[in-house]
Subunit: 446 residues, 2 copies
């Protein structure tokens, strides 16, 4: 379902590979993937997408049809394309487990491999890890605000393509959502799927009561009725009127859905209507342009809403539609490397991140240092692949979801706020600073 095609990459990866190939540059390279800075409206990030990234690495190879097409572009020599026939990923990967909370300048993935391999996989690795991390990070904000509400990912239609819809469902479930409306995500990732009816179902009937009844008869185990097509409170009244008839058939009304207007006000009135009729078990589910900002407001207002469908704003990460992430060469042939471009300089060398916790188990500070340096704290990057093979099976999505829950429980209050979060302390070790300075001096002398 998630494509592993080798040509899902930038052309420059292949022209660079042609350069490495021509010069017999086969040394080992270390690339690290990290986020340069947080969007203004994020206090922390949640790593996601490793399973798909590893799947990509394990399946990477060029088909003969792809190589034939590349030949036709005129960019490549035949000998180089023949070499690509046997191109596979044979390197090592270290990474943060999915669900890990992390911060700027901390590598979340490190690839160590012959330079052509480590180089080539850049585009699709970023593409996979960036998007799921973006969505898991956004989803976590709603989960922390409303841990006891049912949150359902609702955004497939306005996600950026089919793959984005699937991966948004996965990433938000990882961060603690209860499920998704997207059927294929249910099938491929084992995520619980939710859904009942759209306005069109109501409109296709002569009146709402008939539509509600028809739906209930056809879907007796899943009766959540959409009541805002014409008038929300009148819709709730029709649900109440229908309830005894359905009850006589043994069909319970599980709930109603609101999708427009002042959700808190409607929910209060609808709750009263349902309760007055004894439908106290029927839940109220709300949708319609909800994001963590409106969710926070609804929770502050104590709106009697049991669950939320969160769609477009989640799947597009509307308030921060991308992360400033990069995948950079940090070492080649045993020597650390440093990019010094204005505003985009990197910390050189192969790195590890160590984390400290306070007495309550909350995150207290991280240190980025060289992988072979010693440091106080818990090391975050784990060995995932060695010589192209998994070190151990990746955790199942449910396990990663449990890990994300544990990680989110450790996020300090100052980082949980929706805006103007405090800045988490990420230190750079003396060893790393010293290496960086030494490289700059060497570069000046060269």
């Amino acid at each position: 379902m998630i494509a592993t095609d080798a040509l899902l990459t930038d052309l420059y990866q292949l022209t660079m590979l042609q350069g490495y190939y021509a010069q017999h540059m086969e040394g080992s390279a270390v690339f690290e993937l990290f986020v340069r800075r947080l969007p203004a409206c994020r206090g922390f990030l949640v790593a996601a997408g490793l399973e798909q990234a590893i799947d990509y690495l394990q399946n990477l190879q060029f088909t003969s049809a792809e190589l034939e097409w590349l030949q036709g572009t005129g960019f490549f020599k035949t000998e180089f394309l023949q070499w690509l026939e046997n191109f596979r990923f044979t390197g090592d990967v270290h990474a943060l487990p999915e669900g890990s909370v992390f911060f700027p300048n901390e590598p979340i993935l490190r690839v160590t491999a012959p330079i052509a391999e480590a180089q080539f996989v850049e585009s699709r690795l970023i593409n996979i890890l960036h998007f799921q991390t973006l969505i898991a990070s956004k989803a976590a904000r709603s989960v922390l605000l409303a841990p006891d509400k049912k949150l359902v990912e609702f955004g497939f239609r306005r996600a950026h393509g089919g793959e984005a819809g699937l991966l948004a469902a996965r990433a938000s479930y990882l961060s603690g959502f209860s499920g998704t409306a997207t059927v294929a995500a249910g099938r491929h990732f084992g995520i619980p799927v939710f859904g009942t009816m759209a306005h069109s179902f109501i409109q296709a009937h002569l009146n709402e009561s008939e539509a509600f009844e028809h739906f209930a008869l056809a879907n007796p185990g899943n009766v959540v009725l959409l009541i805002d097509t014409y008038d929300t409170e009148a819709g709730a009244q029709k649900v109440v009127e229908l309830a005894p008839k359905l009850a006589a058939l043994g069909i319970p009304i599980k709930g109603v859905r609101l999708d427009s207007g002042d959700l808190a006000a409607h929910a209060r009135r609808v709750r009263a209507i349902l309760d007055a009729a004894g439908l106290t078990d029927a839940t109220i589910f709300a949708s319609g342009n909800i994001d963590e900002y409106s969710l926070e407001q609804l929770i502050l207002e104590h709106a009697p809403i049991d669950g939320f469908g969160i769609g477009t704003h989640l799947d597009t990460s509307e308030d921060a539609p991308y992360l400033d992430c990069a995948y950079k060469l940090q070492e080649y042939a045993g020597m650390p490397r440093r990019k010094r471009s204005e505003g985009k300089a990197t910390w050189p060398g192969t790195k590890q991140v160590y984390r400290r916790f306070d007495v309550d188990g909350k995150l207290a500070g991280d240190t980025v240092t060289l992988a072979d340096a010693s440091c106080e704290g818990k090391p975050l990057l784990k060995a995932i692949m060695q010589e192209g093979k998994l070190v151990e099976p990746l955790p199942a999505l449910e396990q990663s979801r449990a890990y994300a829950k544990e990680q989110l429980s450790r996020v300090p209050d100052g980082l949980r706020v929706l805006k103007h979060a405090s800045v988490y302390p990420v230190h750079f070790s003396p060893e790393l600073r010293e290496l960086t300075e030494r490289m700059d001096i060497d570069a000046e002398l060269r």
Copy 2:
């Protein structure tokens, strides 16, 4: 490459279908896809994605594995799932040709089909058409600003998944971009592909000069050198020093790329360095967080830049990451239908859009009316499919691109500005207003 899986949909489509099936609701439904309102920073939109939407409709069917999985969810009766085995799209489609300029409340696609079919395809049709329209509309802004520059889509890595990367390449090419960096988009859509090297290629070498030479020897027809890894002007100087050696080998330096810092200032200095060495044919290509806003600034400053790589901001439509679009039931079993939800009420009935032009051929005003009403102007929706078959072959991407160019040439100046565009007049005909009022009165009486 672009998935047509039937389960790329919302669960509620299937639960509704189970309801239609149980009640033998087989009447013809008309659904229309439209955008409710423009994002604040858009003056117009460009329709895109029809080819993939039609491909989806033509290939829609459930596999036995999918049906088996659905059975396991417990939501569906066996008889209904058996009926789904033969489920195909057999309806009619009317649509704006790809590349059409359009405005809020104008249907860009109309589906007329037995209600189950017309209903079911909602989620994926929106998913496909929304995203490409979003990107084509964003890309058109840069094309109108810089019609003589080479604009290349550069955003695969931060596009929201692989499909988004491919479709962003297609949509931006449709709107007039010169090509893409994404290899798979080149292969699948026949779009020109561009790319040379990343900073890592430079860093993997002991110095820039060696990296430049190695790249040129391996890619003699495609020598565009990235010069900002350490110091941009020093990089340009190294290009100049290398040029005679390459010239002696018959290898021309096509250009250089800048990727950081003050692009206008660097471009001026680099242009002077190149020109002073006689490299007047070498072009300057710039990238790095460019969007139409920074592009406008660079053009106002007359920065000597020949082409631009536009990535993240384009592929995520950063300033407007979604469109408020909807696919709504407008007619069922011969009767118009209207949703009246607060803030989301629809114009009922099967509609057509007519466009008028001023003496210069620029867009002068549109009227939305009922499909069977007569109206002044040029009708915009065309018959695309009839009874599940194409009325005529869809235009090739190059033809649609030419059409988009013609359409963009007709956009009035007031709509081309990046912010605070004027509001284009879209009228609703007396027939449509009358129908809407009549339906509201009927609803009150019912």
